[in-house]
């Protein structure tokens, strides 16, 4: 049975088994591949998306749980990389391999929405369950603080 939800501002309907994780619906059913598979057990954060504004791990979020909800993926964050977090990421040259970065950015954006003026320690706390094997944490930390500065203005 088809399940309907809003994806990046558009209403859509998907006909997959209701237990299918949102991650695979995005990637394989909808070919929206910016959201990444990293672990499948909510341990790495590469699949992070926003569900009704909250950051969630789409690899363990069954399709049945998102009926009627609003989903934002990295592709829906801005149409032109203009979000302050994306801008800060470019300015500080954060990504290396880049694979985890969609999830990192989605996590950072949701965090800054709740805490627009964070301390470095609060940034560390918010980001510490996302894995980056390239070791970009130092640059991400700086970029989040920079984005927060920019959003203040």
């Amino acid at each position: 049975m088809a399940i309907s939800f809003e994806l990046n501002g558009k209403k859509i309907s998907v006909d997959e088994d209701s237990q299918t994780p949102l991650l695979w619906v995005l990637r394989d059913t909808l070919n929206l591949t910016g959201t990444k598979y990293g672990c499948g057990i909510a341990a790495c954060g590469a699949c992070s998306v926003h569900i009704d504004g909250e950051v969630m791990r789409s690899c363990v979020m069954p399709l049945s749980a998102i009926a009627g909800k609003k989903i934002t993926t990295i592709e829906g964050l801005s149409s032109d990389r203009s979000h302050p977090v994306q801008q800060a990421w470019i300015e500080l040259q954060v990504p290396q391999c880049g694979y985890c970065q969609s999830g990192q950015i989605m996590t950072a954006v949701a965090f800054l929405k709740k805490n627009p003026h964070p301390t470095a320690a609060q940034v560390d706390e918010a980001m510490s369950s996302n894995i980056c094997r390239c070791g970009t944490a130092q640059r991400m930390r700086a970029a989040i603080l920079k984005a927060a500065e920019g959003m203040k203005a």
Partner: protein
């Protein structure tokens, strides 16, 4: 949805040309697998490397795999410099596998080392051809023209490259050994921190990794592999799996010995998720084979038996036995070091997309050795290598794992049967439990110092599960393991190195910085132990033991670049200065330094730690690197930051242990990594050298764990000799 990642038949470059001379890289594919089409020795840089359109847009091709190390920026920078174009006009393009590019294998920190001069020559040859075309147009001598900013100039007259490129590309290619290269002082692009070309696509989800490839009608495949290393399928029942909606096929593929692929039962389905779910429903009777009894404990017992016994003597300089006998017990140290298997754990698990049609194949592979992929796919699918088109995608980390033939082989086996596009997906569990791990190793170190604080003896008895045994069966097992132990920079009365391999069924291969990650830790920890034993400051002790500037050759590779102790000392001193070496720290905190030479590059790291109730907090790491001419300084800093974090993870968090012949850690919940909270401030200082540039993807790693361990000793008096540091080790 978006059609951006649906692949279309890209034009393979038909032109034949190459400025890419044979590359010296530490990681070579096994010869029997590297059966890609032979290289064609012709050259036209304006066809192979450079495309210029009428509007002045310059598209530069990079021939190496982008796995986060920034090569898609630094290689084009070198071309652009000599070609004489504005960086703002440059776009970049990844080369498909083509003989014009020579070996496209990306590893051993070898891309800049190997391509710096060939790309400069290619760029300069292109510039010369454009000048020649302009001179002909103006009917003047080429000497009266100059080239700059994407145009050829004669006085105030100019012809844009876009107007000249068609004529220029028809000209004979100049002798690459005679083209005029810029002087270093003339560089306008090399040496600048330029923003990476791949970064914008990595903040909006548009960068395409291997797993992001999509084709009309494409299906997804997963493979059930025996959890025990070397095990095989005895029989299987696929009834339940096949009954699932969306499952298209279930079949067995054999192991391929030369690719080190496991074989197993393949499930093909409409989506990755369905394939994974159906795989769970397979009933497989495994023949586990002889590895079932292996564990980390059995391997450790074997290691200890080996170092207790007579071993093969590799080097024996001076008189170690007499020096040790002469040393009083208080000035003699004997201790054992041990390091575990490590998984690469790239964020993007292994995968490969293949479409076989008739007698040809197209492959999309996130791979470090695309030429090898061409060969292995051809072999597995029974095709001619030249009929296999290989496109290298962005890759979500490499670290050496993506140099392997197993996953492209499996993908080709599957695609051969399906006759439609198929994406082979490894789950995280597949990836972690069927990796080719960094070897486990064990080291018995014996050394002595004299009353004046000089090192008098250094003996290293070393055993490991050697990479060579897996990939180079005809080579000596130690040939993959020794690294800098063959180029001991510290002088003493005697140096003795012994090595004997241990037996293990655990697959092993090149992991970021390879053997340097092992010997760097052991050598730089042990020299620190000797310093403390001598009662001499560890920095001072190293500087003394390095002595006067000299070149230390590798006795097994006399033609390889020697270790230059002046550069070794140079990074050590720069690092110490920037880290405020010798200034006091609060109680419970400590500073430790380490320096290492790997991949022809020199890196020293200094760690500052605090230890409270047995818990280590790494506060700051200062790094100094000498890699010759720096091409993209911010890219260099990023690579050192990355290697340090990767090294800290291996020192403080991750390991692969073995029980019942299989990996215990199967996912990121057990194989843990350094979090942002645990990531220290990292400062990188780059020596402004004029030496030939060398690589930096790996060399920042080896001096990381020993700097940390030495800092922990300074803070607590407790010596770390086993990695990773376990809870309780310091309490």
């Amino acid at each position: 949805m978006s059609a951006a990642n649906t692949f279309s038949r890209r034009d393979l470059l038909k032109t034949v040309a190459s400025a890419g001379a044979a590359l010296v890289i530490a990681v070579e594919a096994p010869r029997n697998l590297a059966t890609a089409a032979p290289m064609k020795p012709v050259a036209n840089p304006l066809k192979a490397w450079v495309a210029i359109d009428q509007s002045g847009t310059v598209t530069l091709t990079y021939s190496k795999s982008e796995m986060g190390q920034g090569i898609s920026t630094s290689l084009p920078m070198i071309l652009a410099e000599e070609l004489g174009v504005d960086w703002k006009d440059v776009q970049v393009k990844h080369a498909s596998v083509d003989p014009v590019y020579g070996n496209q294998g990306t590893g051993g920190s070898g891309s800049i080392t190997g391509l710096f001069t060939p790309l400069r020559k290619a760029g300069a040859a292109g510039r010369q051809m454009l000048i020649t075309a302009a001179a002909a147009r103006w009917n003047v001598s080429a000497e009266s023209c100059t080239a700059k900013n994407g145009a050829v100039w004669r006085g105030s007259d100019k012809l844009m490259y876009g107007e000249l490129v068609e004529a220029a590309s028809q000209l004979p290619v100049p002798d690459l050994d005679k083209v005029q290269l810029k002087r270093l002082e003339e560089f306008e692009i090399i040496g600048k921190s330029l923003p990476r070309t791949d970064v914008p696509s990595k903040v909006d989800g548009s960068a395409l990794f291997g797993l992001d490839m999509r084709a009309p009608g494409m299906v997804y495949a997963v493979v059930a592999r025996c959890p025990v290393f070397g095990g095989k399928v005895r029989s299987y029942d696929a009834t339940a799996a096949k009954a699932m909606k969306g499952v298209e096929d279930v079949f067995e593929i054999p192991a391929v010995a030369e690719a080190h692929s496991c074989g197993g039962v393949v499930v093909v389905a409409r989506t990755t998720w369905i394939a994974m779910q159906a795989r769970n429903k397979l009933k497989i009777d495994w023949d586990y084979g002889p590895a079932l009894s292996e564990s980390s404990e059995t391997l450790r017992r074997q290691f200890r038996q080996i170092v207790d016994s007579n071993m093969k003597v590799i080097l024996n300089q001076g008189d170690v036995a007499s020096a040790l006998a002469a040393a009083p017990a208080s000035k003699r140290i004997e201790c054992d070091y041990e390091l575990p298997f490590q998984a690469h754990a790239t964020m993007e698990p292994m995968n490969c997309t293949v479409h076989i049609e008739g007698d040809s194949a197209r492959v999309w592979a996130p791979h470090q050795a695309p030429n090898m992929v061409q060969g292995v796919v051809a072999r597995a699918a029974g095709l001619k290598p030249e009929n296999v088109q290989v496109h290298t995608t962005f890759m979500g980390g490499g670290f050496g794992r993506r140099y392997q033939a197993d996953f492209p082989t499996e993908a080709a086996q599957i695609a051969k049967r399906l006759k439609k596009p198929v994406q082979l997906v490894w789950s995280r569990e597949d990836d972690m439990t069927h990796d080719f791990y960094r070897p486990a190793s064990y080291h018995r170190m014996t050394g002595a110092v004299d009353a004046s604080g000089n090192m008098t003896a250094w003996q290293h008895k070393y055993t490991s599960t050697p990479i060579a045994e897996w990939f180079m069966p005809n080579a000596a097992p130690e040939s993959s393991e020794l690294g800098c132990t063959l180029q001991m920079p510290y002088q003493s009365g005697g140096y003795r190195l012994e090595y004997t391999p241990a037996k293990s069924a655990v697959p092993r291969a090149w992991w970021r910085s390879v053997e340097a990650s092992v010997v760097g830790f052991v050598m730089e920890s042990f020299v620190d132990e000797l310093a403390h034993s001598a009662g001499v400051d560890p920095l001072e002790f190293r500087l003394n033991a390095l002595g006067d500037a000299r070149l230390v050759k590798n006795p097994n590779e006399p033609d390889a670049r020697p270790l230059d102790t002046a550069r070794f000392k140079g990074v050590l001193q720069l690092c110490a200065e920037k880290a405020n070496w010798g200034t006091p720290l609060p109680k419970g905190e400590g500073r430790g330094v380490a320096v290492h030479y790997s991949f022809n590059s020199y890196v020293a790291n200094c760690a500052e730690v605090s230890v409270e109730r047995g818990q280590v907090k790494v506060k700051r790491i200062v790094s100094a690197v000498d890699i010759g001419i720096p091409v993209n300084p911010d890219g260099i800093r990023a690579q050192v930051e990355s290697a340090i974090v990767y090294g800290l993870t291996a020192a403080l968090k991750s390991q692969i242990t073995i029980e019942n012949g299989r990996a215990v850690q199967t996912n990121f919940n057990k194989f843990t990594t350094l979090s942002m909270r645990e990531t220290p401030l990292i400062e990188v200082h780059i020596v402004q050298s004029k030496a030939a540039p060398t690589g930096i993807g790996e060399p920042g790693l080896p001096p990381t764990a020993p700097a940390l361990a030495n800092a922990i000793f300074a803070a607590t008096g407790k010596r770390v000799r086993r990695l990773p540091i376990q809870p309780g080790d310091l309490s």
